[in-house]
Amino acid sequence: MFNFCTDPDTLPKLEWFACYLTTGKHMGFYFSFGTVLLLLAITAPAALLFGFGGASAARARFLPLRWFGKAYISIVRGVPDIAFFLFFVIALDQGFEWMRHKVKCPDWDQPIRQGNDFVVCAQAKLPLGTAPQWVHETYGFSLAVLTFAIVFGAFSANVIYGAMRAVPKAQIETAEAYGMSRRQTFWRILVPQMWVFALPGLSNLWMVLIKATPLLFLLGVEDIVYWARNLGGTANPRFTDYPHADWRMWYFLALLVFYLLFTKVSELVLDRIMRRLSHGQDTAAGEAQRRAAGGPP
């Protein structure tokens, strides 16, 4: 990175750290912070979408759809999430390959599950065996995103379901009195009003989502945990790629600080959003703001 790094004399000096921290592998490490942020940026709206779908399904009039929505919410919430992460990555992958297999190779006569193997024809492999490396990485990453969206979708479905029920009944009844159809009531009255009630739960969920990102490591993505383990470790006690002892502790300390800062910043931002949203609302927070501004008691 820097010119003086080519000079072996810098090794005992403090500048050596500047060289060490800018090696190619460290660039990969910094880049993986971007991976985490990208995951958050994609997952948050996707989970919200799943949650909205789940909550709408859970209050549908069509019985099987309602069962599906409620089962989705309660099963995902009742089991350790990490089990779901491990489960969905394999299950989704096999599901996709199975569907492609059915479409692309209709005249395949052997069973797909042969003992302990899952065998599909070569054209149905996902990604194709001939695909370049970045396709494999992107595929792995999108599986991870989908898994996160499914699990967090169930959590947010629960929050949104509660928020939909918290909208005052009188509002719905008024809409019906005006002759709105069920669909119109839903989109024009219920959905715009529920967000204030959903926001505390959703912001809590955002904090939880931030803290769930290190699980990317378990899903086989090269994320910050992966790099911290690799960069901090000595490859081999005697012959090592890295000119230092076991520094994994310090790398994980850095990750710990990163997450603490990240949650602190999100907390401040969410507080600000909540203050703005409850401005003028008929809630305790809105009332407190009105009083603080000198309104009549």
Binding site: V79, P80, R113, L205, I210, A212, F252, L256, Y259
Partner: protein, 268 residues
């Protein structure tokens, strides 16, 4: 091999008693049930140790955070922020490598690098922080009338805390604490997926479930078995906590009793 034989071989495998080699091929349902159930021993151990020890530290933390003394308040606030603000997963990794470095300094730290002690310590601190926050919230919402009545009866200091504040705090916090307990039991599955190694393949329920899923390429059997165990266990936790809740509320008229409302399980 009959199923009973499998149970004898593997029921205590996770603590190192019984057959040493894990099954390698032709996995039967019986083997999966037995081994995953055997792994639950660790989940229950971690959960119980952390919960019992964490309860006392949490009370202290809540008292500290509600204290007017800066020297007591600041450390409690920082402790709670540290453990609630960062992912448990990273805490496990950091703690493991910390203990590994400390091992070089003194042999006192040798046992901490094993999951049985090291991970239990991390879980203990973690649940103490989460529970401390719950207790702190409950401490602030003790009805003022109760405290004034205690003053009127001449209670003060330790006696007031022991007879009035503490039981009321527990009663108010109990529904949230039940959720925290469930949540903690679910979090114990992270132990063997962070830095802590499963020595001689003695792991927890999820460790064995993922072992089977890796070997058979079929996630649709081991994970539902694991889910079943956890749902059963969650139900029994709810049962026990419900009994305690009933005892804490026994002096109240029926309609004022706080019901357990279960909102279990978010990741931490």
């Amino acid at each position: 091999m009959s199923c009973w034989q499998t149970v004898q071989d593997y029921a205590l495998r996770s603590v190192g008693i019984g057959e040493r080699l894990l099954p390698r091929e032709d996995f039967t349902l019986c083997e999966q049930f037995t081994l995953i159930g055997s792994g639950m021993i660790w989940n229950i151990y971690f959960g119980l140790v952390a919960l019992l020890a964490g309860f006392f530290l949490a009370t202290a933390l809540a008292m500290g955070k509600a204290s007017h003394n800066r020297l007591l308040r600041k450390p409690s606030e920082w402790f709670i922020f540290l453990f609630r603000g960062s992912p448990l997963f990273i805490q496990f990794f950091f703690a493991y490598f910390l203990f590994l470095s400390l091992k070089g300094v003194s042999s006192v730290f040798d046992p901490f690098t094993s999951a049985g002690l090291g991970a239990a310590v991390v879980l203990f601190f973690n649940t103490a922080a989460y529970t401390g926050e719950i207790f702190y919230g409950a401490l602030l919402s003790i009805p003022r009338g109760d405290l004034e009545a205690a003053d009127a009866y001449g209670f003060s200091g330790w006696k007031k805390f022991r007879k009035i504040s503490w039981p009321t705090m527990l009663r108010l916090a109990w529904p949230a604490y039940t959720n925290e307990a469930i949540f903690l039991f679910h979090a114990t599955t992270l132990v063997y997926f962070s830095g802590f190694p499963a020595w001689q393949q003695r792991g927890d329920a999820l460790y064995y479930a993922s072992y089977f899923a890796d070997k058979t390429f079929n996630p649709f059997i081991p994970y539902p078995i694991l889910a079943m165990y956890f749902i059963l266990f969650t139900l029994s936790v709810v049962g026990v906590f419900g009994l305690i809740n009933r005892r804490l509320n026994r002096h109240l008229p029926a309609e004022r009793r706080s019901k357990l409302r279960l909102r279990p399980n978010l990741l931490r």
